[in-house]
Symmetry: C2
Subunit: 225 residues, 2 copies
């Protein structure tokens, strides 16, 4: 091995065409530029983005694997529409992943705990000085991501990422985040305080309460769309 690895600061992004197509489509979905249920035609997309059908097809496969889109054999791919059952399912999954992380707080590494603290600071800051809805959402999701991170399993983190991206779909045009951002910050801060004080059980209850609220408000938001 080399006595010291130089150039550790250097990195180069290796992006394939498919990757860029996927990112662009994801962005469009998250920004709510396409309604839920909209069919994603291979030919049309290829023409629009100046890319061959094979490439689009591969990108759509990725989206489908992520749950952002749904494929019906011989009928094509369309943007996933969240029905109440899926919302519940997703929330249940999030609850499991995050609660497990929270419960693991005492055994978690220093780094993982610091991630939670930092994420909360970011969220607080974003909510305080008016950040854009997108930034606010990102910061909020960052906190929850940090909770999952306490599990210190990259696979669990990936799973959480996947289910989270699904809810982002539904939240695209719902800016309820902004309204009660302050309230959310309070809830999360309380949770962290409980953790720091060592009362893991109370923290877990706080989290589950928070997520239950999130589910109901998400449901009403979707129903009233």
């Amino acid at each position: 091995m080399s006595p010291e690895t130089p150039f550790t600061s250097l990195s180069l992004e290796h992006s394939s065409t498919v990757d860029r197509v996927v990112e662009e489509l994801r962005r469009a979905l998250f920004d709510g530029e396409v309604e839920a249920g909209t069919p994603l035609r291979e030919h049309a997309l290829g023409e629009a983005m100046g890319v061959s059908r094979s490439t689009i097809r591969e990108a759509l496969g990725v989206l489908v694997a992520e749950g952002l889109a749904t494929r019906e054999p011989n009928r094509g791919v369309h943007v996933t529409a969240l029905d109440p059952d899926s919302v519940h399912d997703v929330c249940a999954a999030r609850a499991v992943l995050e609660a497990a992380g929270v419960r693991r707080w005492p055994e978690a590494s220093q780094a993982a705990r610091d991630d939670v603290r930092r994420a909360l600071e970011d969220f607080t800051a974003a909510a305080h000085d008016g950040a854009s809805p997108a930034e606010l959402t990102a910061a909020h999701l960052g906190v929850h991501k940090a909770f999952v991170g306490l599990n210190e399993s990259s696979r669990l983190a990936a799973m959480a990422e996947a289910v989270t991206s699904e809810v982002r779909l539904g939240l695209a045009k719902v800016d309820r985040i902004r309204r009660n951002a302050a309230e959310q910050v309070v809830s999360h801060r309380a949770l962290l305080t409980l953790l720091e004080s060592g009362d893991v059980d109370a923290a877990e209850r706080e989290l589950e309460d928070h997520l239950r609220n999130a589910e109901t408000s998400m449901l009403t938001a979707l129903h009233l769309r």
Copy 2:
């Protein structure tokens, strides 16, 4: 809607070529017909299975998404090799998913609980009258799958399926399952007894103990390969 839905017993499998290629490749991986790390060449596979490169390519994408294979840009896809870190990661993930299910036993639906009971019966039966290693593994995994099922979230179930399949990769040629099948049955039965008696905490400890053992024996099995 129709007054009564007839033909509910009828169903027809809709398998695309890609699906069949994926299944065949999965089977080959699980049966240990290909070493970990073996490159999966698009051209060679296409020729071997009599399908076009596009189709193979799509199938490989699925395998990669499942974690059974790994893609290195411009260098191709190869069978995923489990290093100790990944094993730990996978086991941690399983522990979270199954422990959450077990802890939810009291609130779980009757159906989900019955699934656990039935899976355990199947496993016991398989271990008793000599079943093939493959059947035994399937039955054993069935029990763990049932634990995850207690969460009653299809997304969590899917995640568990994914990480479990990764484990199966490593277990392909390790038939340690057979050796201590009896022991495993005892452990699982004890767990269920604790659940039935309402002692969820003890059941959770039993499960975590079981999974810790599984991890270490899996590690030694892999290391001695």
